[in-house]
Structure formats: structure tokens, C-alpha cells
Amino acid sequence: MVDQAQKEFRTRDLLYSIALWFLSWLIPDPQLHYRREYKFKKRDLFYLSAVLVFPLIWPDPHIHHLMVLAGIHGILALGLTLFLGYAGQISLGQAAFFGVGAYTTAVLTTRYGLPSFLAFWASAIMAAIFALLIGKPLLKLKGYFLALATLGFGEIFLVLVRENASLTGGVIGIFNIPFFSFAGFTFDTYLKQYYLIWGVLTGLVLFSKNLVRSKMGRACLAVASSEEGASALGIDVAWIKLGVFTVGAAFAGLAGSLFASVMSTANPETFSLNLSVLIVMMVVLGGMGNLYGPIAGAIFLTVLIDRLSRYQEYSLPLYGVILILLLIFFPDGIGTRLRVRLIYLISYFGRKKRREKVNL
């Protein structure tokens, strides 16, 4: 009888530990986001193959389109996470760089007939130049003032776009931007666009992964932790902040270019404060100082918005409430907190069974 009971709870234990192992494999350690591994892990391969296979096992164009949007948001969030998650600075002007990218592509392809591949790179460079110019004076600030200043930049950008109708088409925007094409191959269906966007995103993830593992990543974390300590080690704090801000802006520029060529329109309403807030939200919910988190956050929020849109006029209040609840219950990112909760739950049941057996 005793033997039987012991045997039973051993197998259960095995099951629980397998579940725990799988969980910890799928969602990284809560603190792992700072402990950057120096190898390409199996987990990365798993994520990559999931991205590759996903549209094939779920052939719904609406989902594909949703994932295209999520990918673009993911690029934006990835750019911001370098600045917000690693260097610890906040920016509410990311949508403006997104807009710079989109308008660069729109103007270059529709007015000057440039191939979209070239316009793609030009957008990144343009956004980076804007970031360098604006970042130099602004990044002296920190905290709320930095948030407000970048927000102000975004608003000024919007007004400039609306008023310079001859270049940007004013409030109506620019239409009929050609689809992204490269070497004669046009990305004109949602499926093709999906692979385009997620391909670019994968490249950028690799870039950022290298970046955060290098001396630059360490310098960013050092700046976030203690600016005095960092500069006593010879790290030029102002330059590090500016550099990361510029990289984030260049990412946003790429995202904007892709957005313009996927949606084939660019109008000022897209690049408002609300998009900036959404991007920061993705980074916060994904967990700060983590590269995959913000992308997960981007997918999550894009899907959430899509699901909420069923409720029509109730959707916005609902959205606000959900955001606040998420912030309250998952302040360090959904992934990290969820993992802790799940581990607790799994091991709790394991312990409970064991307790019952012992009490017998």
C-alpha cells in the first residue's frame, strides 16, 4: 500500500518537473533578461521555426494581416526596448520616427520613383538623422521631462506634417505607395508580407542581440544603473544614450517604411501620441531589458486590440481598463510574472499531492 502510494507520487512528480522544465524552456527565467547568454540557444531556433511555420498551419488572411501589423509593432518595440529597457530612458516620440520613415518612403517612391528597396534604407537613415539632431539637446533630460520633451517632438512633427501639404499631402496623406519589391519580386499578398516583415524583424533581433551582448549593451545597462559610475569607467554617457536613441529611431524608420509599403498609405493620424503610448506599453508589458518580451507584447496588444474591436464603442474604455489592470498585476512584464505564477501553481499542486499522501 505504502509502496503503491510512493510510486504514484513519484510519477506525478516526474510529470510536474517535466512541466516545469518545459515552462522554463519556453519562457525564460524572470531575471534572465539581464543575464545575457553568449550562445545561440535552442530556444531561439524554436521561436524562429514557430514564426516560419505559423502562417502555414493557420492559413487565415485576416490572421496574416494581423501578424503583419504585429511584426511592424514588434520592430518598433524592439527599437524602443534598447532605449527604455536597457538604457533606462523613456521616449514618447517613437511614433514620430515611425512617421519619418513612412513619409520618407512615401515621398521617395511616389514622387521620385525610387525603388522601394532603396527607400527602405533611406528611411532608416532619415529617421536616424532626425534622432541625432533631436537627441543631442533632449537627452540631457531624464524621467518625466524626457518623456514630455519627446512627446512634444512628436506633436511638433505631426503639426509640421499637417501643415506642409505640398510635401506630405497634409491631413489626407499620401496614397498608392507601391508594394515593397526586391529584385522583381513584389510582396503583394498578406502571406508574402508576413514573411517580409518577420524576416526583417529576425534580422533586427539578431542585430540587437549582438548589440546587447557587446560592450555597448553593458554600457547601456551601466548608464541605466548609475550614470556617475558609468562615466568613471570612461563611458561617454551622453554618447551612449544618443547612440541607442538613434538605433531605436532607425528601427522605427525601417518599421515606418515597411508600414507605408505594406498599407500603401501614409497619413498623419497614424503617427500620433497614441501609437507612442502603445509602443511603450508593449515594452513595459513585455518586460524591460529583454528582447523577446517586447515582440511578445506587440503580438499580444495587437491581437487584444483586434479582439476588442468587436465591442465597438465600448472597446476604448475596455482597452483603458485592461491596460491599467495589466500594469497593476504584471508590472514587470507579463512573461516574467506569468512564469512565476505558473511555476508556483505547478509546484503547489505537486506539494499538495505530496502532503495528502504524507497525512495518510
Binding site: 557587446s214 562615466s231 568613471a232 561617454d236 554617457v237
Partner: protein, 251 residues
């Protein structure tokens, strides 16, 4: 002359923190800076390391004037420092803290790091190896994977010194390295510092721990109320009446 301070003056509001201080430090020696609280020791360090600018006077390091240059430039010239209030990067592991100290010695900018070009990768590997060696020397190797914030206080103090040393400075400013350490820890620290001096490093340290200073310093400067009241070998300074008065009267 290795480090030379000429007639340094600094005021905060109306308070005279430093008043016409002139100091010289020779290469390869240990100089202790002492004085009661509020004597201006930390201000002196802030001025040398570039965190603040002096109101008048000049600071020369390795025949270059460094007065009023920003902190990171002075650090690049070879001045390392630790802080009285610890400035450990708690969001990184111990080994990464040390590798951050090597920032200046690793090649690569944002683009080359992002693209992981061969020379950056090579430097990263070298930095990792060196960092582990340094941690081993200072007895922190067992903790290399820990987060710096998880270390005990004494270990954090040691880590900060290791991090400053990782930059291979020519002059190291230590701001109360033994504050809050137990007696054996302080003893070990003194040994480590003596070893660093043998390796040719120049040290300037603020310390309240009399025994430590007397044991390892070649020269001692005593500050009181922003003025330099005594300077010389420890045995001489110890007997200086103005020094005794400064310590006795104030306490």
C-alpha cells in the same frame, strides 16, 4: 610630476569647501588623504575625477591639464575611481560589471558590435577571460554568475575596486575603501592595495581607518575645513600638533 594640484578652490553656496589646496602625487606611491568629516576630502576627489569643476586653480595629470574636463575623458586618460556611496551596477552579473570596466579597452562601436564583427568578438572573449582572472585574484570568482546586487556589502566594495582596476588606470582614487568592512576584510584590502602598488599603480585614498592608512601609505595629507594642514610621511604627520588638534577639538 604625475598628479599635481595647484591652488584649488571650491565653494558650495557660501561654504568654502576647499581653499587653495596644492598637492603632488608621485608615480607609484600611495597617498592617504585624511581629515575630519566635512574637511573637503570627497570634494577633492570629485574635482580630480572631473565630477565637479574647481572655482579656481588647475589640476595636471601626466603633464596634461585636466581641470574641468568631463568625467569620462579624465577616466580615459587613466584616472580610475571608486565611490563613497557604492555605484555598483546591480542589474548586471559580477563578471559583466568587471567587463564594463574594460569598456575603453574593447574595440567596436554600435554598428560593429551589432553586426558582431570579428574583432569585437575577439575582444569580447579576451575581456571575459581577463575579467575572470581578475575576479580570481580578488577572491570573487565563486560569485561570477551572481547579480552584483546580490553580493554582500564587503564583496560589493571589492567588486567596485576590481571594476575600477579593470580599466587599467594609472591613478586610482579610492574613496573610503574600508568603510563598513570588518577587521579581517580591511586587513585583506590593505594587502591587496600593497600588491597593487608593487605592480606600479599610483593610489590616492581617503580613509578614516587610521591603522590602514598608517600601514600602507607612503605619504599622508591631512585636510581640515578646506585647508591642507599637514603633509608628509605617516609617522611625522601622526605627531603633528595641528593634526592632533584638528581631530581632538572637533570630536
Amino acid at each position: 610630476m604625475f598628479l599635481r594640484l595647484e591652488e584649488i578652490t571650491k565653494q558650495y553656496g557660501g561654504v568654502q569647501a576647499l581653499n587653495g589646496i596644492s598637492l603632488q602625487v608621485e608615480r607609484g606611491t600611495i597617498k592617504g588623504v585624511m581629515g575630519p568629516n566635512g574637511a573637503g576630502k570627497s570634494t577633492l576627489f570629485h574635482l580630480i575625477s572631473g565630477m565637479e569643476k574647481p572655482d579656481s586653480g588647475s589640476i595636471w595629470f601626466k603633464k596634461k591639464e585636466i581641470t574641468g574636463r568631463p568625467l569620462h575623458e579624465i577616466a580615459r586618460l587613466g584616472v580610475g575611481r571608486t565611490f563613497q556611496t557604492l555605484q555598483i551596477f546591480g542589474n548586471m552579473t559580477v563578471v559583466e560589471n568587471v567587463m564594463t570596466g574594460m569598456h575603453m579597452r574593447i574595440r567596436g562601436g554600435i554598428l560593429s558590435s551589432g553586426l558582431s564583427l570579428p574583432w569585437t568578438r575577439e575582444d569580447e572573449k579576451r575581456a571575459m577571460r581577463e575579467a575572470k582572472e581578475m575576479l580570481e585574484q580578488f577572491g570573487l570568482f565563486g560569485r561570477w554568475k551572481w547579480f552584483a546586487s546580490q553580493l554582500a556589502y564587503g564583496e560589493q566594495r571589492r567588486l567596485e575596486i576590481v571594476r575600477a582596476l579593470a580599466a587599467k588606470p594609472d591613478l586610482l582614487l579610492l574613496d573610503e575603501p574600508a568603510a563598513g568592512l570588518t577587521y579581517p576584510e580591511a586587513k585583506q584590502l590593505a594587502e591587496n592595495l600593497a600588491r597593487l602598488k608593487e605592480n606600479g599603480l599610483t593610489l590616492l585614498l581617503i580613509e578614516h581607518h587610521m591603522g590602514l592608512v598608517m600601514e600602507i601609505a607612503d605619504e599622508v595629507a591631512v585636510l581640515n575645513k578646506g585647508e591642507l594642514i599637514a603633509e608628509g610621511p605617516p609617522e611625522v604627520v601622526k605627531k603633528d600638533p595641528s593634526v592632533i588638534e584638528a581631530y581632538m577639538v572637533r570630536k
